[in-house]
Structures are given as structure tokens and as C-alpha cells.
Symmetry: C2
Subunit: 327 residues, 2 copies
């Protein structure tokens, strides 16, 4: 049984996982859907009530029925590097590849449907609320009056994108920013705007979930709690990430979240306030983990490799792995 | 409780359904996501563990919690008609709108996740097989050798797109075509190719599923069974569609299909062979139905309106509606 990794060629994070898979002797096929109709080929036959499908990459052939797991890491756009690329060829290749892989019986990290759903920020906020995670008061609106009323109730606000990364070329992260007092909200009519009560944080927390394993890292906030720099990605502090313990209630809520979201992998971002409360900010179903592993020594790549390598289709809950330590 | 219809402005098929909803006094809000940040506005607040969301269209305000159903008919690209459209604004608006509507408690025809999954032809073929529908032998491949071997086993083949409609502007339907004997298959390396055993058909069947109701229509094939014109959409025959009875085994299999696919609406296309067997060709989760209703008098629009108007979130199975007749 083979592990299939869908990712682009230059993905050192995937390399980290492949090292562990190779070390344990698990067969791996790695391919980039962008190479379809070039070095990647596919075939599937639906005859007499049965289906037999194959993928080949760089001359290696793998049976779709023989996949134990599929890791959707950073796949390129199907057929993007074909000899004569086109929107039509991409559409045909997308439908053929993902259409065959769907319901192939393998375990997914993460299944495309779950991944797609999990990207919706409003959906994340509601699910986090339902699972019992504290969520800072949030408004998404195109109504200036709603924004003004919200700012009266919560005078210390940040503004951030609803969707994440700006799709310019190359893509650009849009920083979360503080909203100045007396802000003019008339421009929210121009596009949905996400306003959120600012958490006066003393640390950022990144909680990486791999199957049932929770690996948390914490990074003390460099500046004071009243800094204008609220986005950890742009924080100039050189504080390292350090392993952290997950409070049992958070562990329970996070497990409920990934269970309901049907995610095998998720990178949760929390802001830790002065009372030690972890406020849910977001869960990125394809969040990077390399920087955390480098700083903390936490075995995230190995955990992913172990999850991908497991033979069965079952997800047995390990006895107790809520506590994350650098092993 | 309101019915929300997401569709473009000029959609006479939606008009047919709205007429029935209006006649029964059910509140309807119809909006096109393309009008977001113009005549369509949205707002959602996540405070103290609860969510309150609103949409407004043309000045009418509707609570997201007060939606009984959502009909995703032919929605435009979010914010496509905004004053300053951009890929970023579309992404933000898509996430905001569909993110809030997800899990709103309303019944969906069809839920975006189910709709997206259901478009994959390879997935359709496997599901149809599993549900017991006869599927003509099919190959999707980029391997010329696989295509040649398939053509040896099934000499009478058609070729059709894997994905459906060509995304040119305006979009173009790509006809299903017969494959000539001794065809050269070397070009399948250039793009995934769907080959299917041709069914020597005496009729085309369109089976429209609305919740638990099955409404079938049949259209005798104009030319003989050996015609080169195999695509009903391009058939010059002026035979009308006529109501047809659904064989009990087909009804059972189709119900299993839509149940597993989580579809509230589906338009199944079958080819009826000389023995009367209905061969599954595809299930279009957003297939048109106006032409069938016009020819047959079958109350499809009314069935959709009734489904959308139902108050509860339950889907009680009607006693017996497998037999479709023009009422």
C-alpha cells in the first residue's frame, strides 16, 4: 500500500515527511498535478461494475486501489505545465484526477471537500464557538452602520481579510492591523470587512493537529500588549517558538473541531491573553509547520509520516497525546 | 421562514419556480452574488458564542437564521458586477457569503459541497455502479495503449469530455461523438480522454429527481440505432419528450444515488437500448428542466417550489411517487 503525496517539486516541508516515510520503508509516490499529460499520466476503467485506476509519475505506476493515504500538500494546478496548457485542459485534468481519487478508499490529509469547507472563516468562527473555544467578538459586514455600532461596543479592534492570502502574483499575506479610534467605516460598502475585538495578548500559540496528536508551540509577544503590531507573521521579535502544554479543555474543543471539520491536519492559531486564555483566531487546514518544528524540535513531520503510513482506514484514538512535548 | 434563491437576473427557469412560491404565499428573496457590494449586502456578527447574520438585496433584509431553504440555481461570480471588481474582492465576497450561509440550518438544493463533488464524472460512474445502475464500459485515460486495448474490446465507442462544458466565452457544449474504427489514439497523451461503449439506443431518457420525487421523460431516437449523431442535445429529430414510467429497480438505484450524493435535485441522463435497459450516462446536479416541463407538462417547477417551501429540515419520504405522470 502506497502513500500518494500531491505537491509541487520544491517543497522542503514535504521532503521532511518523505525522509521519515523512506526510513520506515513505506512506498511513496510523489507527484505534482501540474505535470499531468507530461511526466504524470492517469488511466481508469469502469467495466462490469468495477473500477480499476492507475497513476504514473516519472515512469512509476501506482494502482489507485492500492493507495493507503493521500497527502494533499501543495499541489500545482492540474496540467499547468502541459505542453499546451489551457483552462479546458486544466478542467479536464482536474475532473479526471480528483474524480478518480475521490472515494478511492485511502485516508486523506485532508480530503478536498473538507479542505475547501474548512477555508471559510465565518464557518471556522461558528464551528469554534460551537466546540467551546473562546472566539473574540467578530463582525463581517458590508454595512457601515453595523461596523460603527460594533466599534462602539468594542472600541479596540483589528481588521483582517475574510479569506486569507491576497491572490496577487506572487501571493501576498495581508497583515492583521489595528483599527484607529474614530475610524471612518463608510468604505466597508466596497467589500466585506472582518473586524475583530483585539486580544491584548502576551503570547501567540500555534497548535498543530495531526490525526489525534496535538503539538502546541508558544511564542511570547515581543512588544507590550498595546503594540500596534498585532500580526505574529510580521512581529519583529526574535523570541523563538517553544513547546507548550495544551489546556485539557482546549484539547477537547480542538478535537471536537477537527472531528466535525473532518480534518486530519490543522494548524490552529490562538492569542493568549493576560489570564492565560487561548482565543481562537483561525484554523488553517494547510498551515505550514516547518518553522515550528525547527524552533521547538517537535516531531511534526514524523507525526504526519506516521499518520500517512498507518495501514488501516481506521483512526484509533491514541491513549493520551494531548500534552505536547519536544521528543 | 424565507426561501433564498441564488441566481442571475435573467433566469426564466427560476421565474417558473418563483411563481409557485408566490402563489403559496412563501416569502422569497432572490439575489445574485454578482451584485455583492452593489445592491446586495451582508453582515454577520459572532459574539458571545452566538451568530447573527443578515443579507439584504434591493433593500429587503433577511435573517440568515430565518432561511428555510437555499436554492443554488445559476448564481453569478460573487462581486462580479461590483463598482471595482477584482479577484481579491471576489474571493473575499465568496468566503463571506458562502461562509455565512454554510451550516445556516436551511435545507439546500444543492449544498455547495455536494454540488461540487457531484460534478466529477469518474465519481458519478463509480457511484452509479455501486447503486446498481447499468453503466456502459468507460475508460478515462492519457495512455494510448490503454485506449487501444479498450477499443479492441469495445470496437463501437463514443468520446466525450470528462468535465462537461468548455469554459470558452460564451461556454460551449462539447458534443459526444462516435469514434471511427481504426482511430489513432496517440493524442490521448495530450489530455485525459473519456471513451465509452456506445449504447445502440432507441430513446433518450431524462429523469429529474426533486427530493424524493422522480419525474421521467423519454424521447424516441430520431434516426436509427446506427446514426452518427449520438448526442441528444444535437439530435435534429423533432420528437417531443413524453412522460415515462420509471422501472422500479431504476427508481431504487436512483434514490440510493441521490441519497449518497446528498443531492436534493439531480437530472439523470440515460440511454435506453433495444431491450429497454436504461444505461446511466450522467447525473447533472444543476441540469435544466424547462424543456422537459414544456414538452411533457410534468410539474417539475412546482415540485421544486414545494420542496423549497417545506418548513422542516426533514425529508419525509412520500409514500409512492416513483411513477412519473403528467399531472
Amino acid at each position: 500500500m502506497t502513500v500518494l503525496i500531491l505537491t509541487c517539486e520544491e517543497d522542503v516541508t514535504a521532503d521532511m515527511v518523505v525522509v521519515h516515510l523512506n526510513a520506515s520503508g513505506v512506498p511513496v509516490v510523489r507527484l505534482d498535478p501540474a505535470d499531468l499529460t507530461g511526466s504524470v499520466a492517469l488511466s481508469g476503467e469502469f467495466v462490469h461494475g468495477s473500477f480499476r485506476g492507475h497513476l504514473s509519475s516519472g515512469g512509476r505506476l501506482v494502482s489507485i486501489g492500492g493507495l493507503r493515504s493521500v497527502w494533499v500538500r501543495r499541489p500545482g494546478t492540474p496540467a499547468a505545465r502541459a505542453a499546451a496548457p489551457s483552462a479546458w485542459l486544466t478542467e479536464e485534468s482536474t475532473q479526471a484526477l480528483y474524480g478518480m481519487l475521490r472515494d478511492c478508499g485511502a485516508r486523506w490529509m485532508n480530503h478536498p471537500d473538507a479542505a475547501r469547507r474548512a477555508r471559510h472563516k465565518p464557518w471556522q468562527l461558528r464551528l469554534a464557538q460551537r466546540c467551546g473555544l473562546p472566539v473574540p467578538a467578530t463582525l463581517i459586514t458590508t454595512f457601515p452602520r453595523a461596523a460603527r455600532e460594533f466599534a462602539e461596543r468594542y472600541p479596540d479592534l483589528v481588521v483582517k481579510p475574510v479569506s486569507g492570502t491576497h491572490p496577487q502574483d506572487p501571493p501576498r499575506a495581508v497583515p492583521t492591523s489595528r483599527v484607529p479610534p474614530e475610524a471612518d467605516f463608510s468604505a466597508v460598502t466596497l467589500g466585506p470587512t472582518l473586524l475583530q475585538r483585539r486580544v491584548a495578548k502576551r503570547a501567540d500559540v500555534r497548535l498543530t493537529v495531526v490525526g489525534d496528536r496535538l503539538l502546541a508551540a508558544r511564542r511570547a509577544t515581543g512588544a507590550g500588549p498595546d503594540t500596534d503590531e498585532v500580526d505574529v507573521r510580521f512581529d519583529p521579535s526574535d523570541e523563538p517558538w517553544r513547546p507548550a502544554e495544551v489546556p485539557p479543555r482546549v484539547a477537547e474543543a480542538v478535537r471536537a473541531y477537527v472531528r466535525e471539520a473532518e480534518l486530519a491536519y490543522g494548524a490552529f492559531d490562538f492569542a493568549e491573553d493576560g489570564d492565560g486564555t487561548w482565543w481562537f483566531l483561525e484554523c488553517n487546514q494547510s498551515g505550514q509547520f516547518g518553522f515550528v518544528e525547527v524552533d521547538t524540535g517537535q516531531p511534526i513531520a514524523r507525526a504526519i509520516a506516521e499518520w500517512l503510513a498507518r495501514p488501516g482506514n481506521e483512526d484509533p484514538a491514541p491513549a493520551d497525546d494531548a500534552r505536547s512535548t519536544a521528543r
